[in-house]
């Protein structure tokens, strides 16, 4: 039996300040980048043609080059993130959508400059067929608006928030609401860090990046639950241990699983970043960053927050119990036997049983 990482004994929670420090730093870097980009007149995010619209140029070729060749020609002239879409019922014609603002002319001139690498354009007065020297002709230039207007964006955010509330309620019911809150905070952290990267490196945000962010949310919650599940189980088995120790043990016990799963997903997504081509880069990069931070946040964010929160509640309960020395009316959090040990509150029992 070949085994990585067993019987590890790392004090994860002991390093919580470091972890949270790193996360705060990363989020601040992202925020700083966004603010600087905004202040210097650029956009905080490099929004693609999906979000801000652009110009669509219809070009007719004598010999239509490969989509990739057209895209490369555009990239070499500094037009990035173009959508190249062939028209199938007119095989020599292609739609080129570029994220350039301004009414027609600017986009058209820039695209023409790029397409000239395939040969000159037809003289304005002439048809493509009757000009022996020409390689292509631009037969139409239209401005296009955003696919994803503000409405869609707002709706996407609203729906995702609703989904997070659903997660909060389910984890709250199955574990404790503090667990749910910690998991959701970790998700927010992951999304913010990923968006920070996108702002910092000005990676194009397309509609597909939204899908990648949703994947990230799913992955992060999955990973957090695996750790929490083990904590829940260990609390039942080792009632005398402190939550601090149990959490550390649980992270250590699930560590081999975490490394294998996240490692495999990371490698698969890395393959997509490396070999998946330019168009999918934004999508696959968001996934890659998401895998790393989705895993990291379960250990570094969700667990410390949950432990801190639970400890505060325990402390508050103990104080309340000591001062009244009787169960609070209707209260579930009171412990009837205030001993020096970790009190077995009804809460702890609930967490253990579930």
């Amino acid at each position: 039996m070949f085994q990585v990482l067993h019987d590890v004994n790392i004090d994860w929670l002991g390093n919580r300040l470091w972890f949270i420090g790193v996360s705060v730093l990363l989020m601040l870097a992202g925020l700083g980048a966004a603010i600087i980009h905004q202040a210097t007149g650029r956009q905080a995010f490099n929004l693609g043609v999906d979000f801000k619209g652009g110009t669509v140029v219809t070009a007719k070729f004598k010999q239509r080059p490969h989509d990739d060749a057209i895209r490369n020609a555009l990239t070499s002239k500094g037009i990035r993130d173009a959508v190249v879409q062939p028209i199938t019922d007119k095989p020599d014609t292609v739609l080129i959508k570029v994220p350039l603002e301004g009414e027609g002319q600017d986009g058209r001139a820039r695209v023409r400059e790029a397409l000239n690498t395939f040969g000159p354009e037809t003289q304005p007065a002439q048809e493509l067929e009757s000009d022996p020297n020409a390689a292509y002709k631009i037969i139409g230039t239209d401005a296009v608006g955003a696919i994803a207007g503000a409405q869609l964006r707002n709706k996407a955010v609203a729906v995702t928030l609703a989904a997070l509330v659903g997660i909060l309620i389910y984890i709250g019911a199955r574990f404790e609401w503090t667990y749910g809150a910690a998991a959701v905070i970790a998700v927010f952290h992951d999304v913010l860090v990923t968006l920070g990267f996108f702002s910092l490196f000005q990676i194009e945000v397309s509609l597909n990046v939204i899908a990648a962010l949703l994947t990230l949310v799913g992955f992060s919650v999955n990973d957090t639950i695996v750790v929490f599940d083990r904590i829940r189980e260990n609390r039942k088995l080792h009632r005398r241990d402190s939550l601090y120790k149990i959490t550390n043990d649980s992270i250590n016990q699930t560590l081999s699983r975490t490394v294998i799963t996240s490692g495999l997903v990371f490698l698969s997504v890395l393959a997509m970043v490396l070999f998946g081509g330019e168009v999918l880069r934004g999508f696959s990069l968001a996934l890659l960053i998401g895998v790393v931070f989705g895993t990291y946040s379960s250990v570094a964010i969700a667990s410390p927050i949950m432990v801190w929160w639970e400890q505060r509640i325990e402390a508050a309960n103990r104080a309340a119990t000591l001062s009244f020395n009787q169960p609070i009316k209707g209260g579930v959090r009171s412990s009837t036997k205030p001993t020096g040990r970790e009190p077995i509150t009804p809460r702890a029992r609930k967490a253990g049983r579930a």
């Binding site: 039996m1 239209d142 869609l152 799913g218 699983r257 294998i260 495999l264 999918l280």
Partner: protein
């Protein structure tokens, strides 16, 4: 006991697998041997899975919102309102009209007494929104006073109409269940064009008709003596106008409309080639009692007592509309009311008793045409008619090369996972790989069964599914190893490993399914595409990663009397 249990499990798995395979290959044609060759599989998948716009391409439609019609109607309505307001305030008018044409939209009133121009203006502006100087510029000349729409206001109003049309078209597309179209404004600012790209649909003409359907609904008072005398109709338009007794003109509070009873109609009646010319005309009061903006819901239902193929549309009104409608119908018992759609009277009925919040549109609708009309009514009326300018078929928006690269990368990633599982978990790794393959087959079957359209966001959902499927196996195997290390026997380690990991797997899967259901129900576009594959995939995964994998373990353990070791 254990053997019997195993047999049941194997039978269930075999049945599910066969059903899955059948859904993938059949039911469109009888499976051949060559379906199981590589190219056969590829072809079957290509013909059975709908691919989205980004992966396969589709139609490219450019349409224009006829905003001039919108401005024209607006001006005409204001003109009528202005004439009524002036008359109500006791001023005599020689005439009034809406001048529309070119880029001019003007409301004109001819006064009997030009010296009262300012009083008329004030009276009109008190009731009609012509006083807004950012929209209308007021002028007088001779006995005429007029309000002309400013150029800036024309542009703003036309732009608003276009945006509104875009939103309505979007909601209609969503209601039709077309997955992930792209919808955007097109052309220069003032061209009022909309570009729609949508993946290949079964009946593009029907979709085009639905998108184009104006669906302007009004409920109007039909002028004439009340029941029991029949509703007053006229054979020609001239006759109807003559009945008004105002020298061949239609007074501002009346309209003459064609009455097209018992006609086949679709959401877009103007395009129907079989349409006969309307035979009758009626005089109705204007403005309408209520219009389509007060609609809460509309559904197609079979006509009661009619032929089984006849359908009608039931509609209900919002609170504000119901109040207005209830008050009006209460005061007009036995009088005739007409349902007007796109400027044509569709049905006339007398009011038996006070009606509050519901009504019917009758006519000889087919099931399809009634459903299409109900859909367009629900999504709201288009502010102006729409015309199609351009129609093309386009290739995938992601580009063929990118798709090929993406597929190659996914295969590399998947191969990595398989190799690692086999290397690290040895014999048990086979379990995981079998479970993964079964998951993929059933997932494709699920996509085909639900007729889902696969897009890149959908593939993101599949990636997360595979990630979680691998995770399920890793969780189980790591747990079994842990139990083995703590000195348990092989059978009890397997039992405990599954039991403990199952709790975790249920929690992770249910959480994700719950959140994806939110995304599925309320999300649109890429969000929904993501949720569909994820929900299908995770439900299947509970079966393949837990049940199937467990069965393989049971089978392995049942082969020997006493199991000393496990390849894990």
């Amino acid at each position: 006991m254990k053997k019997k249990n195993l047999l049941t499990r194997v039978i269930i798995i075999a049945l599910v697998t066969i059903t899955g395979l059948y859904l993938v290959i059949g039911p469109r044609h009888r499976p051949h041997l060559k379906d199981f060759t590589w190219s056969g599989i590829k072809q079957t998948l290509a013909s059975n899975i709908h691919l989205g716009l980004d992966l396969q391409g589709g139609s490219h439609l450019v349409m224009r919102v006829k905003t001039e019609e919108f401005l024209k109607r607006l001006t005409e309505e204001d003109s009528i309102a202005a004439q009524n307001a002036a008359k109500d305030a006791g001023f005599e008018l020689k005439g009034g009209r809406a001048d529309t044409g070119g880029n001019t939209y003007r409301v004109v009133l001819e006064l009997a007494d030009p010296s009262k121009a300012n009083e008329v203006k004030d009276a009109v502006q008190k009731k009609v929104e012509l006083g807004d100087t950012s929209v209308w510029s007021y002028s007088t000349s001779g006995d005429q006073i007029s309000w002309t729409m400013t150029g800036a206001a024309q542009r703003t109003l036309a732009d608003n109409a276009t945006t509104q049309a875009l939103n309505i078209i979007e909601s209609r597309i969503n209601a039709l269940g077309i997955t992930e179209p792209t919808l955007q404004t097109h052309g220069a600012q003032s061209s009022h064009q909309i570009l729609l790209q949508m993946p290949g649909v079964q009946d593009p003409e029907r979709v085009k008709d639905i998108l184009k359907g104006e669906s302007r609904l009004e409920l109007v008072h039909v002028v004439g003596p009340p029941s029991p005398s029949p509703a007053t109709t006229y054979a020609t338009e001239q006759e109807a106008i003559a009945s008004l007794g105002s020298n061949g003109t239609v007074p501002p509070n009346r309209r003459v409309l064609p009455y097209a009873e018992r006609m086949e109609l679709s959401a877009d009646s103007s395009k129907d080639p079989n349409q006969q010319k309307p035979k009758q005309w009626v005089v109705v009061e204007t403005p309408a009692i209520i219009d389509g903006s007060e609609l809460r819901n509309a559904t197609a239902v079979p006509t009661q007592g009619g032929r089984s193929t006849d359908f009608e549309i039931n509609f209900s009104l919002k609170k504000s509309g119901a109040d207005k409608f209830g008050a009006w119908t209460g005061a007009h018992i036995n009088e005739y009311m007409g349902v007007v759609l796109n400027g044509e009277v569709k049905s006339i009925a007398y009011i038996k008793s006070q009606i509050f919040d519901s009504g019917q549109i009758t006519g000889r609708f087919t099931k399809q045409s009634a459903e299409d009309l109900a859909l367009t009514l629900r999504s709201g009326a288009l502010p102006a008619p729409i015309e199609y300018l351009e129609e093309r078929t386009v290739g995938p928006s992601l580009g063929q090369d990118s798709i090929r690269a993406g597929v190659r990368a996914s295969v590399v990633g998947l191969a990595l996972v398989v190799v690692f599982m086999l290397f690290y978990y040895r014999g048990s790794g086979v379990n995981a790989v079998v479970a993964l393959i079964l998951n993929m087959i059933l997932m494709i079957a699920g996509l085909i069964m639900f007729g889902a359209t696969l897009t890149l966001p959908g593939i993101a959902g599949i990636i997360l599914t595979i990630g979680m499927a691998v995770d399920s196996n890793v969780l189980i195997f790591e747990r079994i190893r842990e139990e083995l290390r703590s000195g348990k026997t092989v059978p009890s380690a397997v039992d405990l490993g599954f039991q403990r990991a199952f709790v975790t797997i249920i929690d992770t899967h249910v959480t994700t399914v719950i959140s994806s259901l939110f995304l599925f129900v309320f999300g649109t576009g890429p969000i929904r595409g993501f949720a569909v594959t994820l929900v299908i995939g995770l439900l299947i995964n509970l079966f393949s990663a837990v049940y199937v994998s467990r069965t393989i373990f049971i089978w392995e353990l049942s082969r020997k009397e006493k199991v000393e070791s496990l390849s894990i």
